[in-house]
């Protein structure tokens, strides 16, 4: 569908790391992209694995940033969280929850299977109206900075390939098969309707 730019949503659980990394890269490449989380809360690593920092989706990245600086600047500088938040706040104000967004997309890319399930559940629970199809693809990405960067590039490549197809729906299957072979990871793929 070269005529109009692909409307893409990238979804992870907290709309912090993986989805934002991809959001960053995709918007630089000129995609009409938005990013979301599917979790009930935004969770960021805390001082111990069992003590995460929990925010709700209304909290801005700026506020999170200030909060963490106040709590332990050194720790959060060292593990890259502050850097990430700083990047995020330059992209948009606050994290967004996928379930609360009513905008229609052509393509939703999720970053782990659990998120994929949640997205599917949400889309299927919506009342169908326009029957406009939306393709949902899951690309498994581990939730750390390095994997997020690599994953973002993979997502970007995938989007570029899809954008360049003449007839996205007809070629999607084949394209994904190719990508699976190339990247050695399976992609879950389905179609939902608005």
């Amino acid at each position: 569908m070269p005529a109009h730019p692909l409307r893409v949503a990238v979804v992870c659980s907290s709309n912090q790391n993986r989805s934002m990394e991809a959001h960053n890269i995709l918007s630089k490449r000129g995609f009409d992209v938005r990013s979301f989380g599917t979790g009930t809360h935004v969770k960021l690593p805390g001082p111990a694995p069992d003590k995460p920092n929990i925010f709700d989706f209304k909290t801005t990245y700026e506020q999170m940033y200030n909060d963490l600086v106040r709590k332990d600047k050194e720790l959060y500088t060292q593990n890259g969280i502050l850097h990430m938040l700083d990047r995020n706040k330059r992209i948009k104000t606050r994290p967004e929850r996928f379930q609360s967004c009513k905008e229609q997309f052509d393509l939703v890319i999720t970053c782990e299977e659990r998120v994929y399930d949640q997205v599917l559940e949400d889309l299927n629970s919506r009342e169908q109206e326009s029957l406009q199809p939306v393709h949902v693809i899951n690309v498994d990405i581990q939730d750390n900075h390095e994997e997020a960067t690599l994953g973002a590039f993979l997502i970007c490549e995938l989007c570029q390939c899809i954008q360049h197809t003449d007839d996205m729906e007809n070629e999607m299957d084949e394209l994904l098969q190719e990508f699976e072979e190339k990247s050695h990871r399976p992609f879950l793929h389905t179609v939902c309707f608005y």
Binding site: E127, P133, N170, L188, H189
Partner: protein, 1158 residues
């Protein structure tokens, strides 16, 4: 309509403005903004539409969307006015604009349903658009507008019938698109089908209808007395659509997206139309047991995930209660835990439901679902107890159910064990992807539930395979239903191709579900049947049975149906293309390191084909011969192999063609230094005649002659079986007209000549050629085979040479051959002889004078070969002095057989002094040029140095010998000429040499006749010898020179020339001789007298009176006295000049020395 006139008028003024301003659209629109406030909506729309016609696609879309907003939402009264203007954009070349028009149609029709009448045709047109994206959009819109069409059919009058017909036709078209080639189009068709089924089926109290679709029309709202829309037809259409959808789902090659879509559609159907619950659940079961084999591993996961999701959503619907067992089993298989399943199951009993409700909200499930469940529950309130459907009776039991029931008691441990053992045999080697991902360990093995499940699974498979008691029962039941219900189920049961079950069964069930309603409206069917025929397009009855038939046909794949043999030309073309691709994959394959496979493949392939492909391959090779040499060799060997395999009848043509093309192709390339040509020739299994010709061409090409001939040489040496053939090529080239070719060939042959086994052949060839010379005319062979020269052509220098090149180059290697030349020479005509003499110089010189064969030739000197021998002698001695052996042979020849003095000339320096002197008279009589040659040799004035030392005669001796030649043997003239030659060599005959010569000659007695001539000559050459000459003269007086008349004459002449020095000499003459002098030269007397007078008196006194008398007398009485005064001079001499011989010599010597010093 009235507005179009305004637009036209407006646009004409605007376009003129545009022209004058030359402005761009943006400028134009900014102008617009200024005035926008005052404009009415209508005017604004006009402006925008005018803009839209002129601007780019993106801007056009923005502008058109503004228009749409204005006329649909802001001021719908304008909609009708501008409809045509907007619809006009449906032919726009931009896909997006066309899609916009579709969207506009949808919006407009939704806003004003009656517009559909005007717009449906346009939508129909757009549905046939070339772009799939436009088609898909059109399908989506039709999905919405179908309901509108149905709605509008009731509210408006009869004139809409054609419109409805068209909608119906379009509906059929979309259903047919389930078989489209395009995945996306099929997806949209599925969604359309879903919506269609919902619309064409009645909403019931347990329907789970989305809020926004509350107002949508459905079958239950359709009046049963409409003129042309018949309730039962629609109902039937709906069921057929469902059937089509179900059939579509069991297609073995369904794509994962289509499958996902269909799964979702089924779930929607089950929830919105619970009457289809049974079909849906069965379809899920079948699918789960028979996942399409075409799905990839990840697609299987995706599909299973979807299946799970949709099963849960179906399960949550209260009407699923009858199917909970089946759904739970499926969900368990899909990996869901029992507790989760229980949580999603709506309670059939009120209190239990409440109990389940609490933990559900607290659980991890998101709220949305919880509220959804609540909604369902609320709806359920009016009918609190959901009683089982009438399906429990045998009449509605599916064949699967029946078969499962039949199987259940049979599944005892023994039978099961046997089944397992038998099926072990059929297990595939590798676990299939779908099994791997779907397998979950059996939790409850051996329990009743599990056995039931197993029975059901088997029943599903059996039914799918067309087996089992259930199927038979159902068939029988179908028959009954059909009998009861006319043609309703006809189409489905007619379909024998569908083995995958469902069709017959599900239809049967569907009918039974709605059976009551059908029965209720039976009468309108029969009543309106004739009316259908009146309609302009009675599409329904004919097309409906067709559609499933068509789709069914496609589902069974037979290779023979879709494949037909290619035509010859196609095969040819495809083969060519395939080979081309292999050829072009050169680099890629090289990188993979498998080029040897490619080379082999190509060679094998191409050798089996006709010339076309071979030539193509050959051309390909020649494009980069160096890089593709491996391919070239491989091809060549394969060709040869092919030839060998066809022995003995095989033809070498193909091989020859290949070799020839490669070789001549190489020849056309600029020179290569990589020796590819040589390699190719040497490695070729056989050198064919045409290949040999190419090699010959190489040899004849001056720039490649060396390459060609060295290749040829290799061939000769390394291919003994045909070496004479190759040698012959080389030999023929030895007389080639091009000098370079010839000389290279000769040098190669000379090397070959060293090989014993080739020697004879080469020699024979050379001699044969030389033998041509005895023919009166050159043979045509010499002019090349092609030239048709008349036989009578005369010998030319060139042709003679041609015959001799090879021979002459062999001569220095084999001296024996020289005798052959002599033999030919004697027989040849004069012209040839001349030519031969000219060309033999080099080889003869090469042989050298020590060659025994040459000496033998000189010794034998065949008759008629004298000139040849002479020439040889000349050549041999030209630069080098003759050897004694040679001189000996020549001397012998001269003395014994051929007394021609000319033989001696070449070896003259090898002869004895006396021999030379003896031969001199003969020699100087020869042609002046030859004489000159002789003198050159004797005097060492030849070109080369060192030979003079070998001369048997010194220059002085030579001159003296000339003086002493007996005039009887030779005429004086020749002698004088010979001496003149000597005097000509001023470098040799220096004044010293001449002085010695004169001295010796003067001492001879008798004096040589030419003495005084030589003296005078010397004097004129060297005037400074005058003093020496005076002494000579004085000495001659003593030798009474006057007694030799010739000499005396010369004496006088000399005195005459040397006056005044000669005065003193004259005064020494006896008076008679002095008088004789004066007689000859009277003019000398007076000066001599004057001379004497100039003497001092004392000196005068010394002059005898007799002399004075001669001086003073006027020649009166000279004769009587001379004798008497003879003594005086002698006396004088004794006094003044030392008489002693030795003293004179010394004196001479001194004066000579003095002369040198001057």
């Amino acid at each position: 309509m009235h507005c179009s006139g305004v637009i036209l008028a407006h646009s004409s003024t605007e376009s003129s403005t545009l022209e004058t301003h030359g402005s761009v659209a943006s400028q134009f629109s900014s102008n617009e903004k200024d005035t926008a406030f005052d404009m009415t909506t209508s005017e604004k729309v006009v402006e925008l539409l005018n803009q839209a016609a002129l601007i780019s696609t993106e801007e056009k879309l923005i502008v058109l969307k503004q228009v749409q907003e204005l006329i649909i939402n802001k001021d719908p009264s304008l909609l009708d006015n501008f409809l045509d203007e907007i619809i006009a954009f449906q032919t726009d070349k931009s896909i997006e604009v066309r899609k916009f028009v579709i969207g506009f149609i949808e919006e407009a029709c939704k806003r004003d349903n009656e517009l559909l009448l005007r717009l449906i045709a346009n939508l129909n047109m757009l549905m046939r658009d070339e772009s799939v994206n436009v088609v898909k959009k059109a399908i989506l819109t039709l999905t919405q507008l179908y309901k509108v069409a149905l709605q509008v059919s009731f509210s408006v009058s009869d004139m809409q019938e054609p419109c409805w017909d068209m909608v119906t036709q379009m509906k059929e078209d979309v259903l047919a698109l389930l078989d489209s080639d395009n995945d996306g189009v099929r997806t949209h068709a599925i969604k359309f089908t879903e919506s269609l089924i919902i619309t064409l089926s009645p909403r019931t109290h347990d329907s789970d209808t989305p809020k926004k679709q509350e107002g949508d029309i459905s079958l239950d709202k359709i009046p049963k007395d409409h003129t042309y829309i018949r309730y039962d037809t629609l109902c039937e259409e709906g069921k057929l659509a469902l059937e089509q959808l179900l059939k579509f789902m069991v297609h073995p090659a369904i794509s994962s997206i289509n499958l996902t879509t269909a799964l979702g559609s089924l779930a929607t159907l089950a929830r919105q139309r619970p009457m289809f619950m049974s079909e849906v659940v069965q379809a899920y079961e079948t699918l789960h047991a028979n996942l399409p084999p075409t799905l990839a591993k990840s697609q299987v996961s995706s599909v299973r995930k979807n299946l799970k999701l949709h099963l849960v959503s179906v399960l949550k619907h209260p009407s699923s209660v009858d199917f909970q067992g089946q759904i739970s089993t499926l969900l368990l298989d899909l990996g869901m835990s029992q507790s989760e399943i229980t949580r999603c199951t709506p309670a059939t009993v009120q209190p239990r439901k409440r109990l389940h409700h609490e933990p559900y909200v607290e659980g991890k499930r998101i709220k949305m679902e919880a509220t959804l469940v609540e909604d369902d529950d609320d709806k359920e309130e009016p009918a609190p107890v959901v009683t089982p459907k009438p399906s429990s009776s045998a009449g509605t039991q599916s064949s699967i159910d029946l078969t499962a029931e039949f199987l259940l008691p049979l599944l005892n441990p023994e039978n099961v064990a046997n089944l397992v053992l038998i099926s072990m045999v059929y297990l595939p080697e590798v676990m299939p992807a779908s099994f791997q991902s779907t397998y979950t360990p059996v939790e409850s093995a051996g329990t009743d539930a599990q056995i039931k499940h197993l029975a059901r699974l088997m029943a599903t498979q059996m039914t799918a395979a067309g087996l089992g008691p259930g199927l038979e029962l159902c068939k029988a039941r179908d028959e009954e239903v059909k009998e009861e219900d006319g043609g309703a189920g006809e189409s489905s049961s007619k379909d024998p191709l569908i083995i995958r079950k469902l069709s017959a069964v599900s239809l049967g069930q569907a009918i039974s579900v709605v059976g009551a309603q059908l029965a209720a409206y039976k009468s309108p069917v029969t009543e309106e049947a004739p009316q259908i025929k009146k309609l302009p397009e009675p599409i329904l009855p004919t097309t409906q049975p067709k559609a499933p038939g068509a789709s069914g046909r496609k589902k069974v794949f037979k290779l023979a149906d879709v494949v037909q043999p290619f035509s010859e030309a196609q095969i040819e073309k495809l083969a060519n293309m395939a080979i081309k691709r292999i050829l072009q994959s050169e680099k890629a394959i090289a990188q993979s390191g498998k080029s040897h496979v490619r080379v082999k493949l190509l060679a094998r392939l191409v050798t089996q084909f006709e010339d076309g492909k071979k030539n193509y391959l050959l051309q390909f090779i020649l494009e980069d011969m160096r890089g593709r040499s491996e391919l070239a060799f491989s091809l060549l060997f394969h060709e040869y192999n092919e030839y060998l395999s066809q022995q003995p009848s095989g033809s070498l043509d193909s091989y020859e063609h290949c070799l020839f093309t490669l070789l001549s192709g190489l020849q056309e390339k600029p020179e290569q230094r990589d020796g590819l040509f040589t390699k190719l020739v040497l490695e070729a299994p056989v050198i064919t005649d045409s290949a040999l010709e190419v090699i010959q061409c190489y040899c004849e090409d001056e720039s490649r002659v060396y390459l060609g001939m060295s290749t040829l040489k290799e061939l000769i040496l390394k291919r003994p079986s045909r070496q004479y053939q190759y040698l012959n090529v080389l030999l023929n080239l030895s007389s080639h007209e091009k000098e370079k070719v010839r000389s290279t060939a000769l040098s190669f042959i000379k090397r070959m000549y060293e090989k014993e086994h080739l020697k004879d052949c080469i020699e024979k060839f050379a001699l044969t050629y030389m033998q041509f010379l005895v023919h009166p005319n050159p043979p045509s062979l010499l002019f090349g085979a092609g030239e048709d020269t008349e036989v009578a052509a005369p010998w030319t220098e060139e042709t003679v040479r041609q015959c001799l090149y090879l021979y002459l180059s062999l001569l220095p290697l084999n001296h024996r051959l020289v005798h052959e030349l002599a033999a030919v020479y004697t027989e040849a005509i004069a012209d040839i002889k001349r030519s031969v003499l000219r060309v033999i110089e080099q080889p003869i010189r090469g042989m050298g004078m020590s060659s025994p064969d040459l000496l033998l030739l000189v010794e034998d000197c065949p008759k008629g070969a004298e000139t040849l021998v002479t020439r040889c002698l000349h050549i041999l001695t030209d630069k080098v002095p003759p050897s004694p052996e040679l001189a000996e042979r020549v001397r012998d020849l001269y003395h014994k057989r051929v007394p021609d003095v000319r033989f001696l000339i070449p070896v003259i320096n090898g002869l004895e002094k006396n021999e030379v002197i003896q031969a001199l008279p003969k020699l100087i009589k020869l042609n002046p040029i030859v004489v000159k040659e002789v003198f050159n040799r004797l005097l060492g004035t030849q070109h080369s140095e060192g030979s003079s030392s070998m001369s048997p005669l010194t220059p002085g001796e030579l001159l003296i010998a000339l003086h002493n030649i007996d005039s009887s043997k030779c005429d004086m003239k020749s002698i004088i000429k010979a001496t003149n030659l000597c005097f000509g060599e001023k470098n040799v005959y220096t004044s010293e040499v001449l002085a010695v010569v004169m001295q010796q000659l003067m001492e001879q007695t008798p004096l040589p006749i030419l003495l005084m001539r030589t003296v005078i000559q010397s004097l004129s050459m060297y005037p400074r010898l005058a003093g020496f000459v005076m002494n000579i003269l004085a000495r001659l007086i003593l030798k009474q020179v006057w007694k030799y008349p010739k000499v005396w004459e010369g004496f006088v002449k000399c005195c005459q020339r040397t006056k005044p020095q000669s005065y003193n000499v004259l005064l020494q003459l006896p008076p008679p001789q002095l008088a004789s002098v004066f007689e000859r030269c009277p003019e000398m007397r007076e000066p001599l007298l004057q001379h004497v007078h100039s003497f001092t008196p004392h000196q005068q006194a010394l002059i005898p009176a007799s002399i004075m008398a001669v001086l003073e007398a006027n020649s009166r009485k000279p004769e009587p006295e001379p004798q008497a005064e003879l003594h005086h001079p002698e006396i004088i001499e004794e006094r003044e000049v030392c008489c002693d011989e030795t003293e004179v010599a010394t004196d001479l010597f001194f004066s000579f020395v003095m002369y040198i010093q001057v």
